[in-house]
């Protein structure tokens, strides 16, 4: 008997005897065949599952990442970075020396200063200073690290979102989630390795923000749908039941195996396995989405109602995904672009996000998952200390885009809890201490996962590309 046919027979036995548990069997010769110069995989034809779990470069603390992406850019001056000086100077133009050379999207650089719109207070043992707009976050102040010195290169939404997610402002590079799954694989084969959830509208950066770029397509984020089946085509077509689907897959598998015996191409084994995984996905996806299995208390803590498609539900889903071994979850919430009424904007968005974001951290902690799950909260840039008022386009009491200083928070996954890192000047305009550039943030996230950002590379167009381009330093002060 043809040895490949024997191999197929073995697989066949495996499928027959073990049902559909293809789990971690060898999947694809894909990477080896397509990408002879890939750095992670040997250049041979041994079938390799490109999504099989892989060892990190060194022992990392985090196994999974939940990124709460606050798209549109929340105002750090209303939430995390209290600047009493702004209240003093409110209504006066900002000193020209501060703003030299700065470019803005909408306002003139000499616009007047706008005071903080909320009261701030210190919370927890750590005394982390937070805005009254974040009452729930205040309860977990000792579990998070507030980073006040974040800065980026980009001052428009789409390029800045793509920059944060891929390290480049132009579409075409792999996103962070793609890099992470490329580096570490995935702990489950029943769900996608990298999942994207969103509320409040579409993403400025579009699919480029969760694209695999030049990495194999398999590493792309799978965007869950807001309504209906979470994954496109995961449900059977009308009239086709589970048994018929199983019959179909059996027929496809048998004929594919016959063909494998005839032509000997191991890529066919990959396809056979992909079909079995698809079948598993058809069961695991609805099970994942069924929030009714959560306790009332849990639902209440998040503020989620099963099937409501809310940010709260997405946070809860993120936990369920991580529990099931998914590597990277991006939860987008859009709507922070406060060109007008920054106070109202913060109030509304905090109403939607504060409870659930905080509940997620508490829930992970309670389940013992926080140590191995990194939660990152924040947007693509910050907002100006200056006010945006423009009668002609109906704007008042807003803030424009501000790339040079803003805040984020991180929790779990090896992040030092209860700290506030970094400082901005008295106007909140520039970082004066412990700046964290986007590339530093990326390097740190990879580091927490046990990945060295300088070694997680991929050869493309003759160059070993990295998430952090040629920059980035791990922010040591953030590490627990």
């Amino acid at each position: 008997m043809h040895p490949i046919y024997q191999l197929a027979q073995t697989r066949r036995h495996f499928f027959k005897e073990c049902g559909v548990g293809v789990g971690k069997i060898a999947l694809a010769s894909l990477v080896a065949q397509q990408l002879p110069s890939s750095t992670l995989f040997a250049s041979n034809t041994a079938p390799v599952n490109p999504l099989a779990p892989r060892s990190p470069h060194f022992a990392g603390r985090a196994k999974a990442v939940i990124q709460l992406f606050m798209a549109g850019a929340p105002s750090q001056l209303e939430l995390f970075d209290y600047k009493p000086k702004l209240a003093e100077m409110a209504g006066k133009p900002i000193p020209p020396s501060v703003i030299a050379g700065q470019r803005y999207a909408f306002i003139r650089p000499d616009a007047a200063v706008l005071g903080p719109q909320f009261k701030f207070a210190k919370h927890g043992q750590s005394g982390t200073e937070l805005s009254e707009a974040l009452p729930h976050l205040a309860n977990i102040a000792d579990d998070i690290a507030v980073i006040r010195g974040v800065h980026t290169d980009q001052f428009n939404h789409a390029p800045a979102e793509i920059f944060l997610q891929t390290g480049s402002s132009q579409p075409g590079r792999p996103s962070m989630g793609a890099w992470v799954t490329y580096g570490l694989g995935c702990e489950t084969s029943d769900l996608p390795a990298f999942v994207v959830l969103a509320t409040g509208g579409g993403a400025s950066g579009g699919a480029a923000s969760w694209s695999s770029g030049f990495l194999p397509t398999l590493y792309s984020g799978t965007k869950f749908r807001g309504t209906g089946d979470p994954i496109l085509n995961v449900g059977n077509p009308a009239g086709i039941d589970t048994r018929s689907q199983r019959d179909t897959l059996d027929l496809v598998r048998d004929l594919n195996q016959q063909h494998l015996a005839d032509v000997g191409d191991l890529e066919i084994t990959t396809r056979i396995a992909a079909y079995e995984m698809a079948y598993r996905l058809q069961t695991s996806a609805p099970e994942l989405m069924d929030l009714k299995t959560e306790t009332e208390a849990t639902l209440a803590a998040y503020g989620a109602k099963p099937g409501d498609g809310s940010f709260a539900s997405n946070c809860l889903l993120a936990r369920r995904l991580v529990e099931r071994g998914v590597r990277f979850v991006s939860v987008y919430h859009h709507g922070w672009d406060a060109h007008s009424d920054v106070a109202g904007n913060c109030r509304n968005n905090c109403n939607v996000t504060d409870r659930a974001s905080s509940a997620l951290v508490a829930d992970l902690k309670q389940r013992g998952l926080l140590d191995t799950t990194l939660v990152v909260w924040g947007g693509e840039f910050g907002r100006t200390p200056m006010v945006e008022n423009n009668v002609a386009i109906g704007r008042s009491q807003g803030r424009d885009h501000h790339p040079s200083a803003y805040s984020m928070w991180m929790a779990g996954g090896g992040v030092k809890p209860g700290i506030t890192l970094g400082q901005t000047d008295e106007l909140g305009f520039n970082v004066v201490e412990d700046g964290v550039h986007t590339h530093d943030l990326q390097a740190t996230i990879l580091h927490l996962l046990g990945l060295d950002h300088t070694r997680l590379t991929y050869r493309y167009q003759g160059r070993d590309f990295r998430l952090t381009d040629v920059h980035g330093d791990v922010v040591q002060k953030l590490l627990a």
Partner: protein, 1190 residues
């Protein structure tokens, strides 16, 4: 990081490294080591990053990519390489060192040399450290094929196989070959009949004939265009946040056509890079430049437009490098290339070629059929406009007499039945289209109008008056012929000069029936009125009264060719008997003339004396300003978010009491202007946020201000109120000229003054064309509504006006006078029916005196321009001819002049990749030192040279390849082959790999008999879930196409960058955001879900099942199987499929499965069988062999 810079004493170094040095290094025979193949990859991968071409980051003063550099003294005083003496060479010491401080490459680089690599370096140095130029930068040589095979490809391939003691695999079976070559050349598999014809053709020419037929197929261009579009980063949207739709498909169609006509690659190249600059450039040549207009445009609020223009230029340099040179030129954006001899400055020298092009918002693509229809309609509009005065007092409705039909006939099956009121009712069959011919007898005398009444009737669908379900109809042509009853004269057609209807549907004006070949025709649906199913009347006015003394036979021919049962259901005809008082047809014009004179007399005293001012100096922050013959100023060139114009005027004579600013249209402006807004804001509008007037002594204040038009609150006064947030704009009035008058409370005395205009918005918003006039009159601002030239004429004495002047004024008067509004509205409705030309994006080279400066940008950053650079090509490549201007055209011609060592190699290598899965150089995008080496260098060179020698004919090269035995091998992977040639680098078998995404869908559609054969046209939207387009922030929706557009080939699917068509995305179609020369070929469970469950594939399964529903189970199985796979199934396979069919049929019969849901397209009596075959077809569509070329 430690480098050779560390000044260790050589003594210390010796101690450190001695222990690790190989005891003896033998000089290898000089020719035993191939530098390019064995040494350069090691050096490039491990050393060049710090010791390579990039001077800026070069460490230790050491350069290892050249012999001179490697043997020179480094900063430390050591010599890295001493040819012939490995032991004394610093390199040897360093690579063998164990100390982290000393070893090269240093630990932090994450690079390591293997012991074998170290030995190789040692031996190479010992043998003299011979450097050779990088193979790809040396022109290809066409060596004689190393064998007698008819096809040189086979000679090269078999020679290499023979060296490994191997041979080609046996030829593929004929079915496989037929499917393979069809998929490769046209992207559509053969039908079973086509395949059988080939398989059973005993002629030795059979295969060649098949190949030639495929090469001549118009689908060949579609297949190969899609591959080119990957490089062109083709998309139908402009990317980033807004990701708006834009029309680029004429460029896509240009590519299809160019490939179908086998346009030589040199022309194909020159036209795409510089078609606009060719002498006598045609429209097609300009469309071709769309290649580089596929770059993205960021329309997000507040972007810096110049920054994104810069990004587009960066993309153009990178894309050109990948596409034509196989060079990663993009690497030199930020610094000198780390590996290839491309210096930082040269990146910007390449950019300079592209930096002289302007990028108009769109260019119209004039198409003959549209041009003809437009010309017809425009002639009609011109005539109607000219005749407006005739209609000044519309003829009063006169006594219409209903005519009794005497003969009536319908051509396509309608039965017309005369009713008691002399109307005709359509009954019986209701054909898609029909033409009615009806004759009447008109007693002696004349008539001058024919009236058609479309009438409702309870018998008609929705009561009519038409026969389509909703009751509408379309009269597509209306012809009236008359002849004397006594037949003393031959019949003649009545000419109508005017038509009126009491209602015309939008775009279906009754007026269009006056055209010789009417556009659309007359229809009456009114979406805004729920009670639109009512009697409607159309009246056609003859040029002159018609009728004969003996009595007249009147024959009406009513054509209704719209289709889909848009025919008249009931109608009646009457004619008008002119009243005695209506004998003078010029009544209208006379009345008009009288009214005009009254108007002139009233307006003349109110007109003012404006003098057009000539600018003496034009300044702007960036835009190019030119004075035109009429003293207006036209802006062109680049824009910013805050544009400033400073225009200086010098006046003599009377004091100036007011200034009039005319904002004018111009064909060079977006939407014809008058503004320059081309992104984000209202296209063609402007935003004048501030206007300031100054003389030597200081600023001059403005008084009351007025305007002829303003968008909402954005009034002209807002431009002179010292608040930059308010200003003047004309949104909604684009495409027309407007005026504003600014008074000066303190008159401006003669002399010099400067007008400063500031356009500040979160997008670029300057005025495109304007003209300034001055007046000394008092209170001139009350009348700004009329154009300047009308105002000027009105100001003249009536007696001094020439007939032409009067005609101009009359024309203007006809365009405003109330009495003619209904008539004008009809013309406007007709104008709205003018078919639009499609548009495409093109490059337009700037004038020689308007060249931009190009700078080197430090670290590649837009905000860090350094010294100016001139256009030029990299020094390591052949020089540009000295005697030509170094512009885009010269650059394009240089690429394809046959001397460039890269162009032909890179091009043919990509074609090779398309057929064999991988290029002879696997890194098709990188022929530099970091790229893979060619597996068959002599073959690559032979092919490259042949490509040039044959006149750059791609079809010739394709024919050569597919006729080779190498191509015609079977693709079976035997264990022996897997062992000996695992990656098939030796081509010991044919390639077997998954089809491109588009073809996966095309194959299913083709099998189902659904695939549309239509070539070209706007992109289409096949069905997919609405949730896909939700992923982008601005969701423009996904308007699913109907009719055959639902089933067009994949390359016509609308390419939306931020939310790509889901199925293609999953099957590795590039998003159109970057230039891609090598697609991924992934294999995932999400692909499986798509093929199993996606609506498209359910539809194809259902359609395929219907083809088989009347066949016996074995025949049906064979039919479905062969539609998908070409080759007949084996008996074993047949049995397995029928067993599946039986099980499913049984479950359907027992109602466990619902046939109606599975096969809703089948008739009830066949639904169960159809459902069972649908399940079979659905399963078979998922077979690996269906989605694979093998």
């Amino acid at each position: 990081m430690l480098r050779l810079t560390r000044r260790l004493s050589s003594y210390m170094l010796a101690i450190l490294v001695l222990a690790n040095l190989p005891t003896e290094i033998h000089a290898a025979e000089a020719d035993a080591i191939d530098f390019n193949r064995e040494i350069r990859p090691i050096l490039s991968n491990n050393c060049f990053k710090c010791h390579g071409p990039d001077e800026g980051l070069r460490e230790a003063g050491l350069r290892l990519d050249t012999f001179e550099g490697a043997t020179a003294e480094a900063d430390s005083g050591a010599e890295a390489i001493i040819p012939g003496n490995a032991t004394a060479s610093e390199v040897t010491s360093r690579i063998h060192a164990t100390d982290d401080e000393v070893i090269m490459p240093p630990p932090r680089s994450n690079k390591h040399l293997t012991p074998a690599e170290k030995t190789l370096i040692d031996r190479w140095i010992a043998a003299g450290a011979k450097y050779e130029p990088h193979w790809a930068f040396v022109p290809p040589k066409k060596m004689a094929p190393p064998g007698a095979q008819a096809n040189p490809i086979d000679a090269f391939i078999t020679a290499k196989l023979a060296a490994e003691n191997m041979t080609l695999s046996p030829p593929a079976d004929k079915y496989s070959l037929c499917r393979r070559v069809s998929l490769d050349l046209v992207g559509i598999p053969p039908t079973p009949q086509q395949a059988d014809a080939f398989v059973n053709d005993p002629s030795p020419q059979a295969y060649e004939n098949l190949v030639d037929r495929l090469l001549a197929s118009p689908h060949y261009g579609e297949r190969w265009a899609r591959r080119w579009l990957d490089l062109a980063r083709y998309a139908d949207t402009n990317g980033f946040e807004k990701d708006r739709a834009r029309s680029m498909w004429p460029y896509r169609d240009w590519v299809i056509n160019a490939i179908n006509t086998d346009m030589p690659v040199d022309q194909f190249t020159v036209k795409q890079l510089a078609g606009d600059m060719l002498p006598g450039a045609t429209q097609d040549d300009r469309i071709a430049t769309g290649f580089h207009r596929n770059t993205m445009l960021n329309e997000e609020g507040g972007i810096d437009p110049q920054e994104y223009r810069f990004m587009a230029l960066v993309d153009r340099v990178g894309t050109t490098g990948t596409t034509w040179l196989g060079l990663t030129t993009g690497c030199a954006q930020c610094h000198t290339h780390k590996y290839d001899p491309l210096v930082h400055r040269e990146f910007y020298q390449l950019m300079a070629f592209f930096n002289q092009a302007d990028e108009p918002p769109f260019s119209e693509v004039v198409q003959d059929d549209i041009a003809k229809r437009r010309a017809e309609l425009e002639t009609l509009i011109a005539r109607l406009t000219e005749q407006l005065p005739d209609r000044f007092v519309p003829p009063a409705p006169s006594d219409y007499v209903v005519l009794k039909p005497v003969e009536f006939v319908a051509e396509q099956g309608t039965t017309l039945v005369r009713q008691s009121d002399d109307s005709l009712l359509a009954t019986g069959l209701s054909p898609e289209r029909d033409n009615y011919t009806v004759s009447f007898l008109l007693p002696a005398g004349t008539a001058n109008a024919v009236r058609l009444e479309a009438m409702t009737d309870p018998a008609l669908p929705s009561q009519g008056p038409g026969r389509v379900a909703i009751g509408n109809f379309v009269v597509s042509k209306f012809v009236v012929t008359i002849s004397p009853i006594d037949e003393s004269e031959p019949p003649r057609q009545v000419t109508f000069t005017r038509a009126e209807a009491d209602f015309s549907q939008q775009n279906y004006s009754v007026m269009s029936l006056l055209a010789e070949s009417p556009i659309n025709g007359w229809a009456i649906h009114d979406a805004t009125n729920p009670k639109w199913n009512t009697n409607r009347t159309a009246t056609f006015y003859a040029a002159e009264p018609f009728g004969y003394a003996s009595g007249t036979r009147v024959t009406l021919r009513i054509e209704q060719q719209f289709g889909n049962q848009h025919t008249l259901g009931k109608f009646r005809v009457s004619v008008n008997r002119p009243l005695a008082t209506q004998t003078t047809p010029s009544t209208g014009r006379k009345a008009f003339a009288a009214s005009f004179e009254k108007w002139f007399a009233a307006e003349h005293p109110l007109s003012h004396d404006w003098t057009v001012l000539s600018p003496t100096q034009l300044k702007s922050n960036l835009a190019t300003l030119d004075t035109l013959a009429d003293q207006s100023v036209l802006a062109s060139g680049d824009q910013t978010k805050r544009d400033e114009y400073d225009i200086t005027y010098r006046t003599q004579g009377k004091p100036i009491r007011a200034l009039r600013l005319e904002v004018l249209t111009d064909p060079s402006l977006p939407n014809n202007g008058p503004g320059r807004i081309a992104y984000e804001g209202p296209i063609g509008d402007f935003y004048l946020s501030m206007m300031q007037l100054s003389v030597d002594t200081g600023p001059v204040a403005f008084g009351p201000t007025t305007h002829s038009f303003a968008a909402g609150g954005n009034v002209a006064a807002g431009a002179v109120d010292d608040n930059t947030e308010t200003g003047w704009s004309v949104e909604g009035g684009q495409g027309k000229s407007h005026r504003a008058v600014f008074t000066l409370p303190t008159p401006l005395i003669a002399g010099q003054f400067t007008l400063r205009m500031i356009f500040e918005k979160y997008y670029a918003a300057a005025i495109g064309r304007f003209r300034l006039s001055a007046t000394a009159d008092e209170e001139p601002y009350t009348l700004v509504n009329r154009p300047a030239e009308i105002e000027a004429l009105l100001h003249r004495q009536r007696s001094t006006l020439s007939p032409e002047d009067v005609a101009t004024l009359e024309q203007y008067y006809a365009s405003i006078v109330d009495e003619l509004k209904p008539a004008r509205d009809e013309i406007a409705a007709l104008r709205a029916q003018l078919p639009a030309y499609p548009t495409s994006l093109t490059l337009v080279e700037r004038r020689a005196d308007r060249q931009r400066e190009t700078h080197r940008h430090h670290r590649g950053e837009y905000l860090q321009p350094k010294e100016v650079v001139s256009a030029g090509v990299p020094a390591f490549l052949p020089a540009l001819p000295a005697d030509v201007k170094h512009d885009r055209l010269a650059f394009a011609q240089w690429l394809v002049d046959g001397k460039n060592p890269l162009t032909a190699r890179v091009a043919i290598n990509r074609h090779w990749q398309a057929f064999f899965g991988y290029g002879l150089v696997r890194t098709t995008e990188d022929f530099g030192t970091q790229g893979d080496l060619p597996s068959h260098p002599e073959l690559l060179d032979w092919l490259a040279q042949e490509y040039v020698d044959c006149g750059w004919s791609t079809k010739h090269m394709h024919r050569l390849i597919v006729l080779s035995d190498t191509y015609r091998q079977q693709s079976t992977v035997t264990p022996e082959l897997l062992e000996r040639d695992p990656q098939n680098k030796l081509l010991s078998r044919a390639a077997r790999f998954r089809l491109d995404a588009e073809l996966v869908r095309d194959v299913a559609l083709h099998a189902a008999g659904l695939l549309s054969e239509k070539i070209g046209g706007p992109s289409v939207y096949p069905p997919q879930s609405a949730s896909v387009s939700e992923a982008s922030i601005v969701n423009y929706g996904w308007p699913v196409s109907g009719g055959e557009d639902r089933y067009r080939r994949g390359l016509y699917t609308f390419v939306k960058r931020t939310a790509p068509y889901a199925m293609f995305n999953l099957f590795d179609t590039p998003s159109g955001e970057t230039c891609i020369s090598r697609r991924e070929r992934s294999n995932s469970s999400l692909q499986a879900l798509t093929l199993l469950n996606d609506e498209v594939f359910i539809e194809t399964a259902r359609a395929l099942a219907l083809q088989a529903v009347d066949l016996s189970p074995p025949d049906a199985t064979i039919h479905i199987y062969r539609r998908l796979l070409t080759v007949p199934p084996s008996p074993e396979t047949l049995a397995r499929i029928i067993a599946f069919y039986d099980v499913q049929l049984q479950r359907l019969a027992s109602s466990e499965l619902d046939s109606k849901q599975i096969a809703p397209n089948a008739s009830p009596d066949k639904q169960q069988t159809a459902a069972a075959w649908t399940l079979v077809a659905r399963a078979l569509q998922n077979l690996d062999a269906v989605v694979t070329k093998e």
